[in-house]
């Protein structure tokens, strides 16, 4: 796959279709890839990588990149295409300046999942029949492939590319995933249990803003939490309230716009399952206002920007689930 992508990228650079390529760049180790823009065939040959660890969603970079001179080639995985579509809908990217090649998605691997098993000093990973053979400073370790995959890939919603100029590899289908299972599990807990669950999770927050800054839906010029005039600016969560506030409002601001790309949870240094907040909104929207997948198209109205005169009342919150 990587070879095919490199070949095509060089062709498109050579024939002038694009003047830049956004993809992923090799790091120090086998897993620490960095999203990068390549301008020459040499750079691509030297550093371009697409493998089990290229999980980063590059669509948000296109907000800036698509406004630059010339056209950029972007390799988008299925989940990334949803983000890109949503950005088109919100006029945040210039579609004409991006040449999109759809590339297959995951499952991608998450090094943190490997390290969480206590495996340290990792030097390399091989996938042999869905068993990972991990070369470490302390000898070889093994673990099942599926225990090391990215959280966002484990709950993959779709293998279909919703926007592209061309594809490398086959297009997939929208999946019937069980991504709402954990939300449902929480809904079925008592309020006290839910409260304790979220206190434990959100109290870990160090307000590094990684979730927000990586989020393709968070493309505000200035976030309300950074804006001293907004009345809610805060730089650190000084109280448990502020931990709640930040994450509730952030989830609310992306409600109906979040494509469930899962980047927020992937980048959280404290492993807070932030995607559950977004998924709660998605699940509610689907149940109350009809199935809606943000980013599936570029024209539909976001559920919070429209209404139906027969919508349910908020009392529905009282009427269902566990108190």
């Amino acid at each position: 796959m990587q070879e095919a992508m490199i070949k095509r990228a060089k062709e498109l650079l050579a024939d002038g279709t694009v003047n830049r390529v956004i993809g992923w760049k090799k790091g120090e180790f086998f897993y620490d890839i960095t999203p990068a823009v390549f301008e020459t065939a040499e750079e691509i040959d030297a550093d371009f990588v697409f493998d089990d660890f290229t999980s980063a969603n590059v669509s948000k970079y296109l907000v800036k990149e698509s406004k630059k001179e010339g056209k950029i080639l972007a390799f988008l995985k299925p989940c990334d295409t949803y983000s890109f579509n949503q950005l088109i809908k919100e006029h945040r990217v210039v579609r004409e300046n991006v040449y999109i090649i759809g590339v297959p998605g995951g499952p991608k691997l998450d090094i943190e999942k490997i390290k969480a098993k206590g495996i340290t000093g990792v030097l390399g990973v091989k996938n042999e029949n869905f068993t990972l053979k991990i070369d470490t400073l302390y000898g070889e370790e093994t673990m099942p492939f599926y225990e090391a995959i990215c959280g966002k890939c484990a709950d993959c919603k779709s293998k279909k590319h919703v926007i592209y100029d061309e594809l490398i590899g086959e297009d997939g289908d929208v999946l019937d995933s069980n991504r709402f299972d954990m939300v449902e599990k929480l809904e079925n807990m008592t309020a006290q249990e839910r409260f304790e669950f979220w206190r434990e999770q959100l109290s870990k927050c160090i307000r590094c803003n990684a979730c927000r800054n990586v989020c393709p839906a968070c493309t505000c010029e200035k976030c309300v939490f950074d804006n001293p005039n907004s009345g809610v600016e805060n730089k650190a969560a000084s109280d448990s309230f502020e931990e709640n506030m930040f994450h509730i409002i952030r989830a609310f601001h992306v409600a109906g716009r979040c494509t469930d790309c899962g980047e927020c949870s992937r980048v959280c240094p404290q492993n807070i399952p932030l995607h559950l907040l977004n998924r709660k909104f998605i699940k509610d929207i689907n149940a109350l206002y009809g199935e809606y997948q943000a980013g599936a198209d570029t024209t539909s109205r976001a559920p919070l920007n429209t209404y139906d005169t027969e919508d349910c009342e908020p009392s529905i919150v009282h009427e269902r689930g566990v108190e």
């Binding site: 390290k115 969480a116 098993k117 340290t120 000093g121 160090i206 590094c208 803003n209 492993n271």
Partner: protein
Amino acid sequence: MLKIAKNRLNELFAAIAEKQTLYIPVDREDGAAEYRKWENGCEMSGALNTVRSAKDFFFPQTENLVDFKMEGKNIEVIDIRKESEDFVIFGVKACDARSFTILDKVFLVDPVDSYYKTRRDHGTVVTMACTRPSETCFCGVFGIDATAPEGDAACFSDGENIFFKANTEKGQAFIDSISSMLEEGDTAKLDEVQAKTKSILEKLPLANLSTDSFGGARLKEHFNSDKWGELSEACLGCGTCTFVCPTCQCYDIKDFNTGHGIKRFRCWDSCMYSDFTKMAHGNPRLTQLERFRQRFMHKLVYFPANNEGEFGCVGCGRCLSKCPISMNIVKVMKALEVK
């Protein structure tokens, strides 16, 4: 050397906690470790390090400085500083232990930061030598010996026993206070473990990283490097690297209106943030490139320039594993290396 059997560690913790508050690294359900106040039943984490560094104990993420009580048009200033209680942090790794030295150079020089100093005075740092360094470790690059950590007292494990050694008077006092539980032990096996660890340290992928290209003298060369654009290109401008870093020490001071008064507090700030050091006239660093450059120039050039060559990094590797886009000080050092 004085030692205690590993299986008696909990007894030891109970004894320490009787006299002062004890913090140890413990494992969370998500597999990561964090410092928690020891309570009966707490198990010490075997993880290499905690996600958040130990600097929180002396320089917490938010800290109240002063209160203003407001009634109608009257404002009263209330000093909320309280005499701090003694506490022990147990199990600090060599890299984090060194970070306190670096923080001291910032907060304990004139004018002394009394909030920081109070905590430093009351805290006893008990370190733990590393036995299983990770591929992201590069403390040796900054002259830190992971097998001989600093701190008030240092501990070493041979797998079955924990050995104690005092590095400071405070550390000696700490060991004295628990001496009734310790016994003299044979270090033969420990020496073996130490030697093995040292051989691993030498083999670490980043062991050969060099600081030769950095230091105060390299200011202009690096400041004007054309590498910064490429290095900072993917930076999200989040504060992850800063907030997991044991040596980052920038903070902002803010007021919070409680409705019946104002709490003036300080909180960590990150030079990666767009409004970092924003002043009345505006912002001195307007692009992410400048902000990104600031962070690494500070650690690799400005800090050594002002602190006898001491770098503002301890090689703990946290930013290597936590940066959402895997850009970090090692990649910066390699890119800027002067050949």
